[in-house]
Amino acid sequence: MPKDQGLMSWKELAPGMYILEPGNSAKFKTGDWRSHRPVLDKEKCIKCGQCYLLCPEPAYEPNEEGYFICNLYYCKGCGICAAICPKGAITMVLEEA
């Protein structure tokens, strides 16, 4: 039925259909888009941060040690990080089926 297709009651909508929760797209998983995933070799990593900066999502987050870790919930497997890493510390591997 058409009314069952509605996401929520019209009464619950903010006036103007505003979205009141800034950045709530963080709830949405884009990690299932990818066919390849980045794997980090910490030995080679110099913690320059370019992978983090140039990830379009952004899917990388710094950890306490200063390494940048890819959040696989969002990673779309584009391969930019692996391509630009100055030390070749990131390799793209095929996702298991």
Partner: protein, 389 residues
Amino acid sequence: MGKRVAKEVSIAVADAVAQCRVDVISAYPITPQTHIVEHLAELVNNGELDAEYIPVESEHAAMSACIGAAAAGARTFTSTSAQGLLFMYENLPIASAFRLPIVMVIANRSISAPISIWNDHSDVMTTRDLGWIQTFAENGQEAVDLIYHAYRVAEKCLLPVAVNLDGFIVTHVVEPIEMLDQELVDKYLPPLKMKYKLHPKKPITMGAIGVPEIYTEAKKALDEAFKASYRVVVQAWKEFEKLTGRRYQPVETYRMDDAEVAMVIMGSLAETASNAVDELRKKGKKVGLVRFRLWRPFPMQDFIKAIGKVKALCVVDRAVSHASTGGPVGIEVRSALYQSNKRPRVVNFIAGLSGRDVTKDDFIELFERTFEAISKKPKFSYEIYGVKE
């Protein structure tokens, strides 16, 4: 009580906007609205009005800037006519759906082609469906009073309001006008406070995609808010009456008590038509006048009540809806009647296109033709009146 002074209506309207302590004016000049926006520029540049005046490069930009400014929490104003209204058309439903309290004065003018600067209602009639509250002024005093009213209603409902003035016929005439004292304006119009607006303290996203799973709900929500605005409109007029003694209603009636035939009309032509009513009444004809002051939301109950027990209605349109079932007002009147129990004969004339004179004698003729129509149903849905064959 304020003092009555002779003022050109455009100037008085601009003065009223200034009294409403508008924050941002964003307008593009087009005949016959120019005196309004020119006077506002003068007030700003003389330091008499503390507002930002954006001399935009087109009407589309004018409404776009109003949307941006209102979204950021400012009280805004713009004005346009005809082609300008059509150029900003894309933004009109956006302003409404975003629930922004923008006030716009439309100096009604004919739409092209042929290009014409003179007055009729063809411009505003194209915007009936877009979600703007719409009122029509008959004369200068009403024009000014509708401005104060517009801001109060817009900001209480969070819906945009368009005040319609007949181009040249109302905008460019000098009339005795009583402006409200500034303290009364401030009492009637408290400062604008918007719960949701664009500000880094409380970020919101305005203008997200209306996926099929939400668009219907979004439109329903807007529709309900729009219907609810009727009560706010009426209440705002009641408050205005307390302040000034001037009484405004959604539908105005003139000598309708025992009328057999009523003319339905909007805007300044109503004054000329009322002269025809008086003359016919002297001859014993039971005629009256019904005028829409509030056009959107459509005041259905007021209208059905106003027509009383007439046998026929003479609907005078000032715009054409080619090859449809009537002029815009004729279509809506017939639709309203069909949903009621009343079934007067409806005769629909389109007159006064692009500043063509409609005199008292013309109105008398239209009344007489309507009387004839009671016994002999006309063959036409609508007739363009006053055409040289």
